[in-house]
Amino acid sequence: MLNLQGYGPSILQGTILTMELCLASLVIATFLGIITAFAKLSSNRTLNITATAYTTVIRGIPDLVLMLLVFFGGQIFINQLGPMVGYEEYIDINPFVAGVSTIGFIFGAYMAETFRGAILAVPGGQLEAGSAYGMSRSKVFYRILLPQMVRHAIPGFGNNWLVLMKTTALVSIIGLNDMVRMAGFAAGATRRPFTFYLVVAINYLILTSISILILNRLNKKYSAGFIKD
């Protein structure tokens, strides 16, 4: 049944693009998530309100709507912005950039919640002890806070990663040649949509299974020395 009729390589290309997309968005999401988590915990009111508004709004809107908004709206926005800064030519938004930035932006909000919880789980006394020893704030962060918050963040982080990976299927709608779209092309040419979409589903299943294995290992590694309750 799984005779791919020569479309195997193109699906594989799509799979590679999907993986690139996943990793690139994960980097953006993690970065945004950490910044937003600190903004949420800071005593500065403006930062606080901005961060809360960001996470609330993002979690209230479907990913697809946001993606379409960025893809179609961003196109117009950038082309209005271009002439203002003296750039006259038409700017075409790259769907890869649109996809990565939207997914990164969405999952930044989810990551922020995870990281906020993880930061709060580290006893405050340890941070105070760090600064009492005369460590600078960045030293307290990467010597004391970071190694301990990782343990608390991994389960939530892993969940977000699994959801993020599945969300990347949406980029096929805004015209990026990921594996779903490649399967669509192959299905159109061979009239065997079931076969090709099934292959894509299996690919996703493999990616999630590998991720779960890696996450379990990471979890074990960072929980070393802690009694499981």
Binding site: D63, V180, A201
Partner: protein, 228 residues
């Protein structure tokens, strides 16, 4: 930005709102109805009973909803057997396919939520029920399930929101839900900001209403745990 386009086309959005609400509520209802018995069976110690359910849950949670929907909507036409049978009356309809995909997906997630809640039942309660001479069925009906539902409520709230957001995918297979309405307005007037921002406002309002209702329900169901 010119929101007068939106006001003169609000009827499309309300049509979309209706479709979104129908899709979400029916698929959630079907998902929940099937998820309860399947979750109970999933906790069975008999591997022949629990393993197939586990496999179903794993496959549907491990693949994107979009791909599941495509397999059902585009994929079923590949089989002459289905095309020739009465099933084709259903599978040729985008609306039915979306509903079918959403219900299957929601059911898988709900099984996992309820299973977690069932397995977290305090041992003492189950033992007390056994000691009182309750049959397995009675034990589930009186003791395990009521407290499991209570424990599952917060995660199930998430699943409802997830389904609401997931339902926007129906617009990809030609259904006019809220996102579909926004896509129509965008393609007619080429006004992406207005079109999609309006859709976003619709979704956000529904999300907040659902969250508020569920908070009230939680308040009621957790009455015995409240400290006053």
């Amino acid at each position: 930005m010119d929101f007068s386009i939106i006001f003169s086309n609000l009827d499309i959005y309300f049509e979309g709102l209706k479709n979104t609400l129908i899709l979400v509520s029916i698929s959630l209802a079907i998902g929940l109805i099937f998820a309860i018995p399947l979750a109970v069976l999933r906790t069975s110690k008999n591997l022949f009973v629990s393993a197939p359910i586990q496999a179903y849950v794993y496959c549907f949670r491990g693949t994107p909803l979009l791909v599941q929907m495509f397999i059902i909507y585009y994929g079923m036409g590949q089989f002459e057997l289905i095309k020739a049978s009465f099933l084709w009356i259903f599978f040729k309809e985008a609306y039915f396919c979306a509903l079918f995909a959403f219900a299957l997906n929601s059911c898988a997630y709900t099984i996992e939520i309820i299973r977690g809640a069932i397995e977290n039942t305090p041992h003492g309660e189950v033992e007390a029920a056994k000691a009182a001479g309750m049959s397995t069925f009675l034990r589930f009906r009186r003791i395990i399930l009521p407290s499991a539902f209570r424990r599952a409520l917060p995660s199930y709230s998430n699943e409802i929101i997830f389904m609401l957001h997931g339902s926007s995918l129906a617009s990809v297979i030609t259904i006019v839900d809220i996102t579909g309405a926004a896509r129509i307005v965008n393609s007619r007037f080429y006004s992406p900001y207005e079109a999609f921002l309006t859709a976003a406002v619709f979704y956000m309002s529904i999300t907040f209403i659902i969250v508020w209702l569920l908070k009230k329900l939680e308040f009621k169901w957790y009455a015995h745990l409240r400290r006053e």
